[in-house]
Amino acid sequence: MGAHISIPMYQRAVPQRYRLAGQKCLKCGKVNFPPKAVCKYCLTGAEFEEIQLSGRGIVYSYTVIAGGGAPPEFSEEARCKGKYPVVLVELEEGPRVIAQLVNPPAEGITIGMKVEAVFRKIYEEEGVIRYGFKFRPATSDS
């Protein structure tokens, strides 16, 4: 099976995946992430200023993926771990993002819990390890 996300395609999104680079609409001031050609809030602004997202947010919803729910490129991870949590996070700056949650709390994940972004290995494809952001429970109340 061919690559699902090619190396060049991954490379083009490095600012988002490594640094959580968002775009602030110069027209309405709202923050888009991932990037859009036209602002998803005012639906007209097409000029943006790059801003660094804090990576801090709260869990808006969550799931725990078991083997049968994992895409084939994550099958090995599901096999090793048995299951892994995926969270939809509402960031302080407004946008929601989806990613895995590492070090989930023993008492279980709850909607509303505070999380922060961390840099992790995502998976490997075409012989290249792909890195990017995941989340972990917030280490402080900041």
Partner: protein
């Protein structure tokens, strides 16, 4: 705008057919459709064909599938095109066919769908099934559609008090309905205990919350309503049809406890038909995962958002309830051959509104209006149709 009628409908049984490819499946449904037309019809009168399909046998025929299939059934020269919107491919084929007839351009148009899903390994199947979502972010979080719908379910539970048991009630109901449907993939009942304790897939879902992989095809024949009675005394009128899109990615949507595409498509279809949700006698809705049927109740106006689980508790959507939903067994138990699903719903409604639902036990009586609802992926697209019986 011209009126649109359905004068014929046919489908394969849904299931696992190692001896049939997309051509054989399509031909079987097409020939059953021709047989269902009451008066004789010269197939050469058919002018166009819109055929929904996601992957044409997981990629064996990437391009020009529609002329391949029409040539296989003796119509090599019609205006044939494949329509793709993931799981809503069939619904969008039907929508485009309906628009083609309504425009007055064509009088006789085929709307069809086909999918061959059982030829490939489970890992390749999961590959194909995930790449219609937001591949850059959702997929790289390690999620397929099961995980995305699971995020919707968890939020719905948090906001509205939906319980795990309510999800299972959808699966139990739809399996029960499929028992009497000769076209269904899984014709067996399951218990609520079974449905609540299956192998985990994506919390809160287990395997009983998920529709299966399925081979199948469905074909309906649309006709200008003015000449429908030349072919049958029992046409079924397509009174309203709506379709809409939304952001593909769950993280781009304001609300994840409703599908904006369904709401917009439903509003368009109701307005065109001149009826409201209270006039619908029965419906086929898109239950790819159990939560999807629950979201559909609110999005189609059958209840207020957040109150769908009360419809389940009260049995309103059971076959003998006030508003039967998924009399066919739904995607859960009738099966979900991606591209065929939207047209398969039209086949079920065509039979029901003509009082031809084969097994008398599953015939819905005295129905006048019906609705079908087909969703692409996790709600990136949706199509909604309103049907009216024509023998009144």
């Amino acid at each position: 705008m011209e009126g649109v009628a359905i004068i014929g409908a046919g489908q394969t049984r849904y299931g696992d057919f190692p001896n049939k490819g997309v051509k054989e499946l399509f031909a079987e449904a097409y020939l059953e459709m021709l047989q269902s037309v009451d008066q004789s019809l010269d197939p050469q009168m058919i002018q166009a064909a819109y055929i929904g399909c996601l992957s044409a046998g997981s990629g064996f025929q990437l391009g020009q599938l529609a002329p391949l299939l029409m040539g296989h059934v003796g119509l090599p020269n019609v205006n044939a095109v494949r329509i793709e919107n993931a799981c809503a491919s069939g619904g969008f084929a039907l929508y485009n066919a309906a628009c083609a007839v309504a425009s007055g351009k064509f009088d006789l148009v085929v709307a069809a769908g086909v999918e061959k899903m059982r030829d490939v390994s489970s890992s390749k199947g999961r590959y194909w099934l995930g790449v219609s979502g937001d591949t850059e972010y959702e997929r790289l979080a390690g999620s397929t559609f099961a995980g995305i719908y699971a995020l919707m379910a968890a939020r719905y539970m948090h906001e509205y008090g939906l319980k795990r048991e309510h999800l299972s009630m959808v699966a139990v109901k739809n399996h029960k309905h499929a028992v009497a449907n000769p076209k269904a993939q899984f014709r067996k009942e399951i218990t609520i205990e079974q449905a609540m304790n299956g192998v985990p897939v994506a919390h809160p879902f287990n395997v009983w919350d998920c529709s299966p992989t399925t081979d199948g095809a469905a074909v309906v024949l649309l006709c200008n309503a003015k000449i429908a009675r030349n072919f049958t005394s029992k046409p079924v009128y397509l009174k309203g049809f709506g379709a809409a899109s939304d952001y593909l990615a769950i993280h781009d949507r304001n609300s994840i406890t409703r599908l904006a595409a369904t709401r917009k498509a439903a509003a368009e279809a109701y307005k065109q038909a001149g009826i409201g949700p209270g006039d619908v006698n029965f419906a086929e809705v898109h239950d790819c995962f159990t939560i999807a049927e629950i979201l559909a109740y609110g999005d189609l106006g059958f209840c207020e958002e957040g109150r769908a689980h009360y419809l389940l508790e009260e049995g309103v959507t059971q076959l003998n309830g006030k508003l039967p939903v998924n009399s066919s067994g739904g995607l859960k138990a009738k099966g979900h051959p991606i591209g065929a699903t939207g047209c398969g719903m039209a086949c079920e409604i065509f039979k029901q509104l003509r009082d031809e639902a084969k097994e008398p036990s599953r015939q819905i009586k005295n129905a006048r209006f019906a609705l079908s609802h087909n969703v692409g992926g996790s709600g990136g697209t949706a199509a909604v149709f309103i049907y009216q019986r024509g023998d009144e």
